[in-house]
Amino acid sequence: MANTVLDTTPHEAGHGDPSRRDFIHIAAAAGAVGALGAAVWPLVDQMNPSGDVLALASIEFDLSKVMEGQQVVVKWQGKPVFVRYRTAKEIAEAVKDDNASLKDPATDASRHKDGKAQWLILVGVCTHLGCVPNFGGGSFGGWLCPCHGSIYDTSGRIRSGPAPRNLDLPEYAFLSDTKVKIG
């Protein structure tokens, strides 16, 4: 055995498959890399949302607190959610622009629940770099983002500025006419 180990020309004949030693090296290296990865992964993954953060998944909100033409901002998963009670005029303007040239085309109907056109519920995070757009600002009467000037219409669709997408819709459901569950 000792001879085999010290033999510097193992590739010639003899002691089984010459690639056995390579195999040992590769297996050892792979094992070491695997072990290192297994040790490092928890140190990386600990930065992902922890259990208690994930647990705060949904909230309920009483819609009777919002007046027509107003918006209330509620906090959901640490993010602002806009609950906007749209006027008939704002809805009409949004529907009128369904076929305008839009960066991220969407009809107004796809942005609210059926029969609830007055309630527009959106994640209040600018799709550019995450600032909170200001209610009523900009040339479309929707929102204006103070950070880099993105303008959203009364359907929360991006109309100008650097933001790439419309304001996101959170998951939500109406529990009753005056109660909504977000998340």
């Binding site: 990386v44 930065m47 992902n48 949302p49 922890s50 953060v53 901002v73 906090k75 998963q77 640490g78 993010k79 602002p80 209040g124 995070v125 550019h128 770099l129 995450g130 600032c131 909170v132 757009p133 200001n134 983002c145 103070p146 950070c147 880099h148 000037g149 100008s160 650097p162 933001a163 790439p164």
Partner: protein, 427 residues
């Protein structure tokens, strides 16, 4: 170092004993006392020492601040106010730390531009230059995370915008931002980790500084002529010549520093950061700290989100490649009239970009909006268009340097450091 033979002679029994076990005094002696240094270094070379001092000041004041600061989203803002009002000398220590960050960046920008002008990034100093770029990156990360700690409105939305930059990358973007935040938005977990890293990174900077100085002491200093040291005539010992010169520069720098700390401590900050962070309301006008403004302007100049983010990272990334982009055989721009001109424009452009970053993109440059016409998506008479032209030059500068390496006809370069002192004019 570099094959230089050591002139250190331990004088006492103890130092002889130590020297044969851990030659640390010898290392210090060879590096900072008897280190042969070109005799013609000007004041632009004193910023290395100034930077070391800045790092020391940030670490000393930072460790002390950390004794009173609470990294909790509900308590952080008040703990900073507690430092300002109640802690003995707390106001001064915090103002030194906050102003110190600005001073640190001021010094590093001068130090870097000095390098570009005199060709200090060129062979054999490429590694030295790259280590410098690494330090600069770490400084930006440290400064950014530190600014988040007081948890005011600017802190909060600075953190929001910068972390969202990573969200611009397709596929991985969302996962990366969630991972950075430790949640679904910037929140308490984000603040905690930023504090941990803000404490750690300066010590990593200190480590890279050691490598930086090591890499400096192998080829030795460059000098204003860019000509290699040829003989002993060209050098003088670091001490006392440059210890005194650097010391004088540090004192002058500290005077400027003190003017800010004691007479205008909030001039470099933003009033909105004295409003506690509110995740539901972004302040009307958010801007980063002045030292990030040029990059912020580049980000906003590009209408597409991902391209804007790539341009911004690229503006820093391109610095790493500078030793190979600027390949002219002549190091110092003193002897490169064309390169010198484009360099001066580059410096002005960087300042201009900073100015653009400080202003709202759609604000008119002249008049109140009546003048100018719309080009593409914005009025030509606006900061966004100005920043587009300046961004174009920022990147073009590197292309120009590359081309100049082939076509420029340099002025005659002196044979050695000692000749121009007698015959050449200064530049």
């Amino acid at each position: 170092m570099s094959g230089q033979h050591s002139t250190y002679e331990p004088k006492t029994g103890f130092t002889r004993w130590l020297d044969s076990r851990l030659p640390i005094i010898r290392l210090g002696w060879d590096s900072f006392i008897d280190f042969p240094t070109p005799k013609n270094l000007n004041y632009w070379w004193t910023f290395g020492g100034v930077l070391a001092m800045c790092l020391g000041i940030q670490i000393a004041t930072g460790v002390v601040l950390a004794m009173h600061y609470t990294p909790d989203a509900g308590l952080a803002f008040n703990s900073v106010e507690h430092i300002m009002r109640d802690v003995n000398h707390g106001w001064m220590i915090r103002y030194i730390h906050a102003t110190g960050a600005s001073m640190f960046f001021l010094a590093v920008y001068i130090h870097m531009l000095r390098g570009v002008y005199y060709g200090s990034h060129k062979a054999p100093r490429e590694i030295l230059w790259i280590l410098g770029c690494v330090i600069y990156l770490l400084m930006m990360a440290t400064g950014f995370m530190g600014y988040v700690l007081p948890w005011g409105q600017m802190s909060y939305y600075g953190a929001v915008v910068i972390t969202n930059l990573f969200g611009a990358f397709p596929i991985i973007g969302k996962g990366v931002t969630t991972w950075l935040w430790g949640g679904f938005a910037v929140d308490n977990p984000t603040l905690n980790r930023f504090f941990s890293l803000h404490y750690l990174l300066p010590f990593m900077i200190a480590g890279v500084v050691v490598l930086h100085i090591w890499a400096l002491h192998v080829p030795g200093n460059n000098n204003p002529t860019g000509v290699n040291v040829k003989s002993k005539e060209d050098t003088i010992p670091f001490h006392p010549y440059y210890t005194v010169k650097d010391g004088f520069a540090m004192v002058c720098f500290l005077i400027l520093f003190a003017v800010f700390v004691f007479f205008m401590p909030d001039a470099l900050g933003h009033a909105d950061n004295y409003v506690p962070a509110n995740p539901l309301q972004t302040p009307a006008h958010i801007v980063p700290e002045w030292y990030f403004l040029p990059f912020y302007a580049i980000l906003r100049a590009v209408p597409d989100k991902l391209t804007g983010v790539l341009a911004m990272f690229g503006a820093v990334g391109v610095l790493f490649a500078l030793p190979w982009i600027d390949h002219s055989k002549v190091r110092s721009m003193r002897y490169r009239p064309a390169a010198k001109l484009f360099f001066i424009i580059f410096v002005l452009v960087c300042v201009g970009l900073g100015f653009c970053g400080a202003n709202p993109p759609d604000k008119p440059l002249f008049g109140d909006g009546g003048i100018g016409f719309t080009l593409g998506d914005a009025n030509l008479n606006s900061f966004v268009w100005l920043s587009r032209f300046l961004t174009a030059y920022y990147f073009a500068f590197f292309g120009i340097l590359f081309v100049l390496g082939f076509v420029e006809k340099p002025l005659p370069v002196p044979d050695s450091i000692s000749t121009p002192a007698l015959s050449e004019k200064k530049g």
